[in-house]
């Protein structure tokens, strides 16, 4: 009889704090600078250099903590994690160990219609290591780029509350979204500013005690995390079912092989000899500071989605798409506000109009890079265009062309419409004469229409619009056509 197993997964996410300078010195955190450009005695670990903490980093870590419902510790302690590696300039990493800044938070995720609470055990601050580049230019040689050394990170550690790859992905996406909307992290997986390690184990269904875990390290895409977890669950099940045991070890993911592989076993694990860093006094955070940071927290994407659905008339789908990036969400809200200021109409209709046009015509032109994003038309400009549609100066089809021109030329909607004479023709006389000519030129179609093929109305509208170069007011065209076709 075979035993059923269930997986248990806990995550450690390293997120780079969105600061201008490093955690313990004033070097820039810019990604992509030439190697060893952003370095100084402190982040290079030169003899005699000392760390002094970056207040902005602390502020962002508190922000993350509160956005994730953690308790903020009034006095947290920086500790040294000691080990030797060329990417670690001081021979130790400054981290937090026994007394982290944030504890006991949670993230609620929804998978398959079920909402689950994933508990966050702790969030601590630490500095990043440098980057080893192996073999570049010369085999057997390793180069070290210290630009990344000492950039500020938070490590967000969950309890082992996740049960499968889908829940893991949902958690990671939700976490990334919250950190981006709070401007804590730029969510950039490729550049390594959001990295994930997963602790995976399996145990017989219903048993309390956790199985031996494998730690999956440094997986830089959500897709690979899912694949690695799925692979690992199957591997461990096969191992145990076959009478073997899981070894506690660190494993990597090889995308080429579609397999996890052993990097380091427990026996090879370091004794990090953590102890409080005597160079840094305990990090003191007052209740007032926490209260202020909390009061400055922006609306989180989940709340936005709910509000947009009730207040702005968006569908859940719209809301999900438009909270895809903080810049996009802000853009939607700014445009709705600008349009509503002009129209003063039903907010739900206004919201829906903006959402539709944004998704249909603008979204494809939006470029994002980390927390930066650019919508090529300012919110006021888009509102101006939508006002023209709303007061029937132009029709929806023309609006699509106009927005393209706005993007290309940077000119305003009104100016384009005026210059190109795109305003709708609502002069019934002019439209009627076009209709008369078209009716006369298409006797067969007129006959068919009169015999009941009423959907031919589309054909006639098309002909009229073609003749008026799309500028005819479609509503007027419709009315006049129906009257003329009645005969």
């Amino acid at each position: 009889m075979s035993i059923a197993y269930e997986p248990t997964i806990g995550l450690e996410v390293h997120a780079q704090l969105n600061t201008c300078t490093k955690l313990f010195c004033r070097c820039s955190t810019d990604y992509g600078a030439p190697p060893n450009d952003n370095i100084c005695p402190t982040c290079l670990g030169l003899p005699g250099a000392l760390p002094s903490p970056n207040r902005q980093a602390v502020e962002l870590a508190i922000r993350a903590g509160r956005a994730l419902h953690c308790t903020i510790r009034g006095k947290s302690v920086f500790a040294r994690k000691n080990y030797f590696y060329p990417d670690l300039p001081k021979g130790y990493q400054i981290s937090q160990f026994e007394l982290p800044l944030c504890e006991d938070g949670h993230v609620d995720i929804e998978v398959g219609g079920e909402t689950r609470r994933i508990r966050i055990q702790r969030i601590h601050m630490e500095e990043d290591a440098a980057k080893n580049i192996h073999g570049a230019g010369q085999t057997g040689t390793t180069w070290v780029d210290y630009n990344r050394a000492c950039t500020p990170l938070i490590e967000i550690v969950t309890h082992p509350d996740l049960r499968n790859a889908d829940e893991t992905e949902a958690y990671l996406k939700k976490l990334r979204e919250i950190l981006m909307f709070t401007q804590v992290n730029d969510g950039n997986l490729e550049e390594g500013s959001f990295r994930c390690d997963a602790n995976v184990s399996i145990k017989p269904v219903g048993r309390e005690e956790l199985g031996t875990r494998a730690e999956l390290k440094n997986i830089n895409s959500f897709k690979f995390v899912k694949k690695a977890i799925d692979f690992e669950i199957v591997r461990q099940e096969a191992l145990i079912s076959g009478g073997g045991t899981v070894v506690q070890e660190t494993r990597g993911w090889s995308e080429g092989d579609g397999k996890t592989f052993s990097m380091r076993t427990k026996e090879e694990a370091h004794d990090y000899r953590y102890f409080p860093d005597p160079d840094l006094p305990p990090l003191v955070v007052t209740e007032d500071q926490v209260a202020r940071v909390e009061s400055e927290l922006p609306e989180l994407p989940e709340a936005k989605r709910a509000r947009w659905q009730t207040e702005l008339g968006l569908t859940e789908y719209d809301a999900v798409v438009l909270t895809g990036h903080p810049v996009l969400a802000t853009y939607l809200e700014d445009t709705v506000a600008a349009l509503q200021a002009e129209l003063n109409g039903d907010l739900k209709k206004v919201g829906k109009k903006v959402a539709n046009f944004l998704q249909g015509e603008v979204l494809q032109h939006v470029k994002t890079d980390g927390l930066h994003g650019e919508v090529p038309v300012p919110p006021g400009g888009l509102a101006e265009l939508l006002v023209l549609v709303e007061n029937a100066t132009i029709n929806g089809k023309i609006a699509k062309d106009v927005v393209v021109e706005m993007i290309e030329t940077g000119r305003g909607a009104k100016a384009i419409v005026e210059k190109r004479g795109l305003a709708q023709v609502t002069d019934t006389g002019a439209i009627q004469s076009e209709i008369d000519a078209i009716v006369a030129a298409h006797p067969k179609e007129v006959e068919a229409y009169r015999c009941g093929k009423e959907n031919l109305i589309g054909f006639f509208v098309g002909q009229v619009m073609k003749a008026t170069k799309g500028k005819a007011n479609p509503k007027v065209v419709n009315e006049l056509l129906r009257a003329s076709l009645k005969g």
């Binding site: 005695p41 003899p47 005699g48 002094s52």
Partner: protein, 523 residues
């Protein structure tokens, strides 16, 4: 310029290597002597030294600073408070353009790309930095015998150790090569060599002086402090180097008191707590301390007995805390970025070979002790427990300071011991710090003041400890004591200790009246 030329230049100026910094500053301001002349003299004295004092002489940098001072004076500019002061720095204080080896092979020839905060402040105040002094490797030692670059000899008796770990700095000042010098004190490394060499030596409150640019030994204990031939000179130096530094998170933002002004304040009614000590003190030390207590009473001080019940754990606690921190602080010397690299077969071999070759035996011993103390399963029993005892020791002082204003004891139970005498027995060497360790572990300010000589003519130092940030109290008392005793005005016979002295500025001339070479003085 050679000595003869200098002599001609100086004419009838009665210049002496024993001029204290105040005298020298006055001479410079009054135009009696130029900064360049005074600096050249200091360089000559340092070059002629045979005590092993200096590891690096920065003639170029010193003369550049001196000529700038002379230009400033000629241009009518106000000179900084330390203008004209020649100064030596312990070789673990980073200096731009001057090697900083920490007395270690692993940093041989290392040139830091920045000045320590104290160095910046000294330069701004007009001090002329003459060079870098010998020291126990990475400040680990009490005799200066752990230097990778040879021993330093005590100027009062060349067979004796100068104390450590700031032995070179103590000697540079004691032998009149410079006006003042800086050392670093982790468990007594300024006070103990100060006592052995007969100069005033100050260990400020932890956090009073920036550690930025001081190569760390034990970060929670290290403090930079001055050596001088008078309390007032030491006060002048501390006045300049003390104060907040945003680059050192452990540096206090508390305003700096007027230390110079504290010299000369009344001491009548000051309560001196005499530490009850065991039988370990040498007879010469006991006699000198007895006389010192009498002198303090004569000054109007009330002398009371005090106890520090946990002081007996000082050595144990210190050698856990300091070695633990050192094991981590010294991890950066791995041959990857700077300093010595011994290339091995692979990365681990390179690490091992570099550190085995680069570090001396005492440093290796302490790294191993500290690594052990921090290891999984031992941390609570050793490091944590030591930190708890440390708290108890700080509380001992708090209780003592209810009954007294300063705690008085010998700086060391012995006078300078013979070179080689204790090198085979690390524990006996560690015990040399028994009186200095409690103030270090409690983070308190302390001063060692010359208070007499033993039968062999070796200086005895007394240590006074004050509550945190009460350095002023120490300067007031030390200065008052100096006024009635003159121990600090006795100088070793450098003429026979060294090969020669700088011509006109003859030490003989200055020492003829005052200097009392010890019995075993010039070996």
């Amino acid at each position: 310029m050679d000595t003869a030329a200098l002599e001609t230049q100086l004419g009838d100026v009665d210049v002496s290597r024993w001029w204290n910094a105040e005298r020298c500053h006055r001479a410079l301001v009054d135009g009696e002597i130029t900064a360049e002349q005074w600096t050249r003299l200091a360089l000559t004295w340092a070059q002629e030294d045979e005590l092993g004092t200096f590891l690096f002489l920065d003639a170029e940098g010193a003369l550049a600073q001196a000529t700038q001072l002379d230009r400033q004076r000629a241009g009518g500019e106000t000179l900084g408070p330390l203008a004209g002061m020649t100064l030596a720095l312990k070789d673990n204080i980073c200096t731009l353009g001057a090697t900083t080896s920490c007395g270690s092979r692993i940093l041989e020839g290392y040139l830091p790309p920045f000045d320590a905060t104290v160095v910046e402040r000294l330069r701004r105040a007009g001090a002329v930095i003459v060079g870098k002094t010998n020291m126990d490797e990475f400040a680990m030692g009490s005799s200066n015998e752990n230097s990778a670059y040879g021993n330093v000899h005590n100027p009062w008796n060349r067979d004796r150790a100068p104390g450590g770990s700031s032995g070179g700095s103590a000697v540079a000042t004691a032998a009149g090569m410079v006006s003042c010098s800086l050392g670093s004190d982790t468990g007594g490394s300024v006070r103990q060599p100060g006592a052995f060499c007969g100069v005033t030596a100050v260990k400020p409150t932890y956090g009073r002086v920036s550690r930025y640019g001081l190569v760390a030994f034990a970060s929670s204990l290290d403090q930079i402090g001055p050596f001088a031939r008078s309390a007032r000179d030491a006060a002048n130096v501390l006045q300049v180097i003390a104060g907040d530094d945003p680059r050192d998170a452990t540096c206090s933002s508390r305003p700096v008191d007027d230390y110079v002004g504290a010299c000369g304040q009344p001491v009548k009614g000051m309560r001196v707590g005499l530490l009850r000590t065991g039988d370990g003190d040498e007879p010469g030390v006991k006699v000198a301390m007895g006389n010192a207590v009498a002198a303090l009473k004569e000054l109007g001080c009330d002398v009371v007995d005090v106890e520090l019940p946990h002081a007996k754990y000082g050595v144990s606690v210190y050698y856990l805390v300091a070695t633990a921190e050192a094991s981590s602080n010294l991890a950066r010397f791995d041959g990857m970025r700077y300093g010595l690299r011994v290339t091995g077969e692979d990365l681990t071999d390179t690490y091992n070979s570099t550190r085995a070759r680069g570090f001396g035996p005492e440093v290796q011993r302490r790294i191993m002790l500290g690594t052990y103390a921090l290891s999984a399963g031992y941390y609570d029993a050793y490091y944590m427990k030591a930190q708890k005892v440390r708290t108890l020791m700080a509380q001992d002082f708090e209780k003592a300071f209810v009954d007294c204003d300063v705690v008085l004891s010998p700086t060391s139970p012995t006078t300078a011991f013979k070179l080689g005498e204790r090198t085979r027995d690390p524990l006996s060497m560690y015990l040399a710090d028994v009186y200095t360790l409690p103030a270090s572990l409690a983070g308190l300010p302390a001063v060692s003041v010359p208070c007499g000589f033993d039968d062999e003519g070796l200086p005895v130092g007394m240590q006074m400890v004050a509550p945190a940030f009460e350095e002023s109290r120490l300067f007031t008392l030390a200065h008052a004591y100096e006024q009635v005793t003159e121990w600090n005005q006795r100088h070793p016979d450098v003429a026979s200790a060294g090969k020669t002295t700088a011509g006109k500025a003859s030490a003989g001339k200055a020492t003829a009246g005052k200097a009392t070479a010890g019995k075993g003085g010039a070996a």
